[in-house]
Amino acid sequence: MTMETIAKTEAPPFLEVKNYRKRFGENEVLKGISFTLQKGEVLAIIGSSGGGKTTLLRCLNFLEIPDEGELYLGGERLFGADEKVKVSDARVREKRLHFGLVFQQFNLFPQYTVSKNIMLAQTLLAKQDFAQKKAAFAAARRSAPKEKRTQLKAEHKKILTEIRSGQKEAIEKKTLSLLERVGLSEKKDAYPYELSGGQQQRVAIARALALSPDILCFDEPTSALDPELTGEVLKVIKGLKSADSTMIVVTHEMEFAKNVADHVIFIADGLIEEEGTPEEVFEHPKSEKTQAFLRKSLEELF
Amino acid sequence: MKKLVALVCSLVLLVSGMALFAGCNEIGIPDEEGYTIKIGYTEYEPMNYYDDDGNFVGFDTEFAIKLCTDLGYKYEFVLLNNWATKVVDLNGGTIDLIWNGMTITPDLQESILISTPYLTNQQVLIAKSDVLSQYSTLEDLLNATVIAVETGSAAETLVKAIEGMPESKVRPVQSQARALMEVGSNQADVAVIDYTMAISMTGEGTNYTDVGWKDVGFEEEQYGIGARKSDAAFMEKLNAKIAEYQESGYLTELYNKYFVTEEEGTTNS
């Protein structure tokens, strides 16, 4: 174990997925998927529907728990199916925060404005943080001598007020900059139903970015959109690449995968059929299945 | 299409409205043979009830059937779902007569027409047998926590009239049978009901073997038959028949059949 860890620190891939397997009842959807990803890279996952792409993405985000396999992020072992101890909800949530996920169906919260959608998770995390600090202060006061407590209380109160307003300011600033990044600053007070599908998906991207995940995943981000709306979303994703975000994109848009991805994986029947650079996969596919898939998606295009 | 639907709808409304009117004949017992008199009753032993073989019998049942037949009328027994609304039912034409061991009270005499008395009754106290000995006078009722009485009955009036009786102790329930159930389920310490009912529904051979009854000195009262004030002509004929039956001994015969049991209660009936 120790040897292995050392070996990894020498040439560390940012993300390493080892032998992910997942079955639903009789149906084995992932049959042993392994891949690595470097920081700042964009990985495109292609393949026909039902091949396991979405399941893989859901496993990375811990929406599903793989039956077998391991996951390392930045050299840290984040998941191992062999761990017999049941992981607490709180631990799972912590792990999830390394990943962001943009859904096919956007899944914005309909009762909140655009900016509240983006702020909500940040606010909740900040509150949690605040509560912890407050508890720590209270503990410190309890161990302090009695006569000093009132003075301490006043001090702590002041610090806490500062922390709170600092948090609020930071969240608002971040939200505004994210909205600018997805080009929707003027829609910050709109409700989701007032936006077009493309705009909603851009808000969803901003929402996922708000927690600064290490890796941002997209589950067919444009397939629920009218063709004329896909462009604006893809443009935003492209923009993220130039900002050095690490991303995994499950997509049907072959052109987009070709132009944006650093690395392409073709998944068929729960296995990686072919992988490589976009040139390798799209121009010189070795596997027959890949060739057939690419031919078919070209035909659909014209 | 819409017009057609509207037309059909209004037709249906019209027809049902007409049917409603057609159902509204003038209320009253006509002076002609063959009219079906609707007799309002509630089911209770021994006045109107079903015996073990499922026959509809009872003092008032037999009495009413004989009287109607003798006068040349047909009859129909209409079950009142609520004794409290009997006057509404009578004036509304749902029934023509109230004939169900009805105690004559001044209040009732004001709102409806009541026949000459045909039976003498008394209110008695009922309680679980083991506590029955604690009650022997009207004043003893003050020691009870809850006294169940049929709402609107003579018992309610009498109990509330006991000197020093707080209203909170008196629990008005829907029927005499309910009052009995209150005692049976320990929800009331005692109940006050008709003697006629108490002897037939408590003690050995009934559903309330552990409930007994006792005369605690309530005044005697009289049963009468109720009719609408507008049916005075019919009431005359009815009173004449009652007098006839008293003369002939028919009512005594009925009384012996339904009230005189082998073992008498602890009262001086």
Partner: protein
């Protein structure tokens, strides 16, 4: 008796009806939520027990339930049972909680899985997802059926009279015994006024939640 003294007496009965109404709501609204969670529980025996209870309660008349709670302990075990007002409250509370639970369940199950998953990937706890994300959407969805059910409750309070809780209709019926009939029909004014207020309140609530679409 003057008109106003009779109306005043009816008003006293109406206050009792209102008491039954509000206490029932206070009990049944949260209890219904608990029951709806039970009926969606992952553990099968819990689900089976809850569903059986809901079936029995929804499958028998409320009037019968009131009488069972009131009379059964005394008749079966010869003990002094529950007083009439508490008995009514228990029967109404359980009965309405069961009806509410089914409305809640329908509302909760109608929320798409995506809303939960969106909350999950944003690191929210189950409680945060329920209270911050799902609840308001559920409320918006269940408002029309809930307002229906709550209006039925107003009128069902009259069932309490069968175990001598002196509510509005009971008072009116005692007037008919004295030969005064109109109060019986006059009770409709009280019920209609109450329902009218509820209609306005629920209309406002619905309008208030119109700012977003589910």
């Amino acid at each position: 008796m003057t008109f106003w003294s009779i109306v005043a007496e009816l008003g006293e009965g109406f206050l009792v009806s209102c008491e039954i109404f509000f206490i029932t709501l206070i009990i049944a609204l949260p209890l219904g939520l608990a029951i709806s969670f039970g009926s969606m529980a992952r553990w099968k025996p819990v689900r089976a027990v809850i569903k059986t209870i809901v079936w029995i309660v929804r499958g028998t008349p409320l009037m019968l339930q009131i009488m069972i709670i009131y009379y059964a302990p005394g008749l079966l075990f010869n003990v002094r049972g529950i007083n009439n007002f508490p008995a009514v409250i228990i029967a109404f509370g359980i009965n309405y909680a069961c009806y509410f639970s089914e409305i809640y369940r329908g509302g909760i199950e109608s929320i798409s899985k995506g809303q939960y998953e969106a909350g999950q990937v944003l690191g929210m706890t189950k409680g945060q997802i329920f209270f911050r994300v799902v609840l308001l959407q559920v409320i918006k969805r269940i408002l029309p059926p809930m307002s229906n059910e709550i209006m039925t409750l107003v009128k069902d309070t009259s069932l309490a009279r069968i175990i001598s809780v002196i509510e509005l209709l009971f008072v009116a019926e005692t007037f008919t015994l004295r030969g005064i009939i109109w109060p019986l029909f006059f009770t409709a004014v009280f019920y209609l006024a109450f329902i009218g207020i509820l209609t306005i309140v629920f209309g406002r609530l619905e309008k208030k939640l119109n700012y977003f679409k589910v």
